[in-house]
């Protein structure tokens, strides 16, 4: 008894006999081969995915639409900008994307009602698509998990922003902890992935080793409800232990949550925004 050959007579592509495993992973496994090389269909499919990811980087954040969605969910919000005026500058000058446009500072301090416990920042990062689609649903899922005693600052929506702009904003709002929800750089299979960075005692000059990250929040990755629970866990632990970063290990799954959490290291935090 023998199974049929994986390459029928005349076929030019050898198929891999483990294609059933594709149900376990979005990774590009069992692609088959032509000689040692990728089959034509895979080369062209990869090219299309790359084109879509490239386009996702360039698509701007629709701020009015995002503000409308926040208003509809009863989140007080304000719109801010970084010092990077456009996408090309944003890509080449991460330092500008980390700083709040000084013109927006009065708006921010005017919105502050004294010190607060938690500041929430939504920034386009490298995928406005991610923020546009998932940020408000994530906040809505978070709402019921927040300690009612916490003072929450108005949600800050930032154009051309990077992770560290949360330090500027959190300091101006006198927040004890800041969470930045930001579009991660698009992958071939994930143009809409949201990253969440939590920083205790935000102030200019915080290093990425002082942050925790919850990555890949999107329906096909870490579901939004789980992302919200992880975020709530990190906010609670950050305020309890008075730290974030390498000193705060994600044990939220021990508290009966799915086993997905932050990479924790600075390198990835910096490189993903």
């Amino acid at each position: 008894m023998s199974t049929p050959p994986e390459r029928p007579p005349g076929a030019v592509v050898h198929a891999d006999p483990w294609a059933e495993l594709r149900r376990h992973t979005p990774a590009r496994i069992a692609l088959g081969r032509a000689g040692a090389s990728l089959p034509t269909a895979e080369v062209l499919g990869f090219g299309l995915a790359h084109a879509q990811a490239r386009d996702a980087v360039q698509t701007p954040l629709d701020v009015p639409r995002l503000l409308a969605a926040l208003a509809a969910s009863h989140w007080p919000a304000l719109a801010l900008a970084s010092r990077a005026p456009d996408r090309p500058t944003y890509l080449l000058r991460p330092d500008l994307g980390r700083q709040l446009d000084p013109a927006d500072l009065p708006l921010l301090t005017g919105a502050a009602r004294g010190p607060c416990d938690v500041a929430l920042v939504l920034a386009d990062g490298l995928s406005a698509l991610a923020v546009q689609a998932h940020a408000v649903p994530l906040l809505d899922a978070l709402r019921g998990l927040l300690d009612p005693a916490w003072r929450i600052a108005p949600v800050c929506v930032v154009r051309q922003g990077r992770v560290a702009i949360g330090d500027d904003i959190g300091a101006a709002l006198r927040a004890r902890v800041v969470a930045v929800l930001i579009g991660e750089r698009p992958g071939l299979s994930s143009p809409d992935s949201l990253g969440v960075y939590v920083t205790y005692a935000p102030r200019v000059g915080r290093s990425d080793a002082e942050r925790n990250c919850i990555s890949n929040v999107r329906p096909a990755g870490l579901p939004l409800a789980d992302g919200a629970r992880k975020l709530a866990w990190h906010l609670r632990e950050a305020l309890r232990l008075q730290l974030t970063g390498v000193g705060l290990k994600d044990e939220s799954d021990i508290a009966a949550l799915p086993a997905v959490g932050p990479p924790g290291t600075a390198l990835e935090g910096e490189r993903r925004d």
């Binding site: 990774a27 590009r28 090219g47 080449l92 992958g187 080793a209 086993a259």
Partner: protein, 462 residues
């Protein structure tokens, strides 16, 4: 001290040694971002002409980052091997390039001088070298390391099997491992970048890798690329850890931004050695680096990003690693803008690492916000293959679905083996033949009845 070079009627002045090195560096966005790059093409050439005339010994006298305030500088200065340096002590940087290219300068001679080459010397000479020079000299450098197999022999290429999954699902990770092994990948390491840093998730991954390697007697090693403190803690709790991983940089402040110090790395290495899990050797460390990390951490001290990167290799070599790789295009366009800059940086990093005696591999890669594509990666991959790169990454279909970037695929490794006749690590090569995955080094066309296919499918996590 100021350095000067006259071109025609113009005197080009450079404030100090690090200014000269930065201005001599091939153009790249990260040095421009830092405000360190040459302001014109002619200034860049003048800097190179000036640098070429500098005695190599200059780098032993003038520290780029102060000795008093930086433990990496202290490591470089205190660890310098003067007797190894003696053979090249009389050379200028320009003549160092000439000497490296001589056909009478043999692999043995290059190995002998390696402990005398500081990262600043390696970076300096690389700035005077064309891409082909970087290939030719690196090819002559031999760095061989061992844990459960032998990595870095001439004519060999190893592959890190990188089976990442967006939620660390053991079934998903295992599926990619199966895919990679059956494509003949995994002789450098099976190394997972986890999403989570939760101790239980990490332990599950270590246990799965350990069981898989043991059951199929794969002559390779495993690694879960999490923070070094998590790995030390796991070792204390009895986790079966082969290699200890850490991202490292070329200044003390960069390393602090990663949450590490040299003492912590030493502690991690001692912990890994205490497990005695290597069968052929005790190279237990795995490091990753990449140009731009120092600037990204605001910790570059006015030193150009390529020189900072070479200093990271001085950190690496102090811990006798099995593997080191530069994740060259991962960091993004603000540091390496396009395919041309990524290709250049990959070749520089590989050259500098090998010249310093470090087992350098390269994550030939790019992100979707960089001006690069698969064609650029093919160019860098092929040139690194010609340069004798120790290992490359093997990611299913070149698409890392967790880290969201494009690396090299199992197919890419097969291409390189085919074109350049590169073989696997010898122990792994013998295993592939024994398992009938390859015949005479070339992949067989496996069907569903193949014993290893069936065996691997049978042990997929429930």
């Amino acid at each position: 001290m100021r350095y000067r070079h006259t071109v025609g009627a113009t005197v080009h002045a450079f404030a100090d040694l690090k200014d000269l090195l930065a201005k001599a560096s091939p153009a790249r966005s990260g040095d421009m971002l830092a405000g360190l790059a040459a302001r014109s093409a002619v200034e860049r050439s003048a800097a190179r002409l000036c640098l070429a005339e500098l005695p190599l010994a200059t780098f032993l006298r003038e520290a780029l980052v102060p000795y008093e305030s930086d433990e990496v500088t202290r490591l470089i200065v205190d660890g310098h091997d003067a007797s190894a340096f003696a053979a090249i002590a009389h050379l200028t940087v320009g003549d160092f390039r000439n000497w490296l290219l001589l056909d009478t300068t043999t692999p043995a001679m290059l190995a002998a001088i390696a402990p005398g080459v500081t990262p600043e010397m390696a970076a300096a000479v690389s700035k005077l070298m064309r891409n082909q020079d970087l290939v030719l000299v690196a090819r002559k450098c031999r760095v061989v390391t061992r844990f459960r197999n032998t990595i870095g022999l001439p004519g060999r290429l190893s592959v890190r099997l990188q089976p990442n999954h967006p939620t660390d699902d053991p079934k998903g990770v295992a599926a990619s491992i199966l895919d990679g092994l059956l494509y003949g990948a995994g002789d450098a390491v099976i190394g997972i970048n986890p999403v989570s840093d939760s101790p239980q998730t990490l332990l599950d991954l270590w246990l799965m890798l350990d069981e898989l390697i043991a059951r199929f007697e794969v002559p390779t090693q495993s690694c879960v690329l999490t923070h070094v403190t998590s790995q030390i803690a796991a070792i204390e709790r009895g986790a079966p850890i082969d290699l200890v991983f850490q991202s490292i940089g070329g200044t003390e402040d960069t390393n602090r931004s990663f949450g590490i110090s040299l003492a912590l790395l030493a502690e991690a290495r001692a912990a890994a050695l205490s497990l005695k899990r290597g069968t052929l050797g005790d190279n237990v460390m795995y490091f990753e680096t990449g140009q731009g990390s120092a600037l990204s951490a605001n910790a570059h001290h006015g030193v150009d990003q390529q020189t900072c990167e070479a200093r990271a290799y001085a950190v690496a070599r102090a811990y006798s690693p099995l593997l080191v790789n530069t994740v060259v295009g991962f960091i993004g366009p603000e540091y390496l803008y396009d395919g041309k800059q990524i290709i250049r940086a990959g070749l520089e990093d590989h050259f500098c690492g090998k010249l310093m005696g470090v087992p350098l591999g390269c994550d030939v890669c790019y992100t979707n916000h960089a001006e690069a594509d698969q064609d650029d990666m093919d160019t860098l991959l092929t040139m690194l293959g010609a340069a004798g790169v120790t290992y490359i990454m093997g990611v299913p279909g070149a698409d890392d679905v967790m880290l969201n970037y494009q690396s090299t695929s199992f197919h890419d490794a097969l291409y390189l083996r085919e074109v350049l006749g590169l073989r696997h690590a010898p122990e792994f090569e013998a295993w592939l033949e024994r398992m009938q995955v390859t015949r005479d080094g070339r992949l067989r066309e496996l069907d569903a009845d193949h014993a290893l296919v069936r065996g691997l499918l049978a042990v997929q996590p429930a």
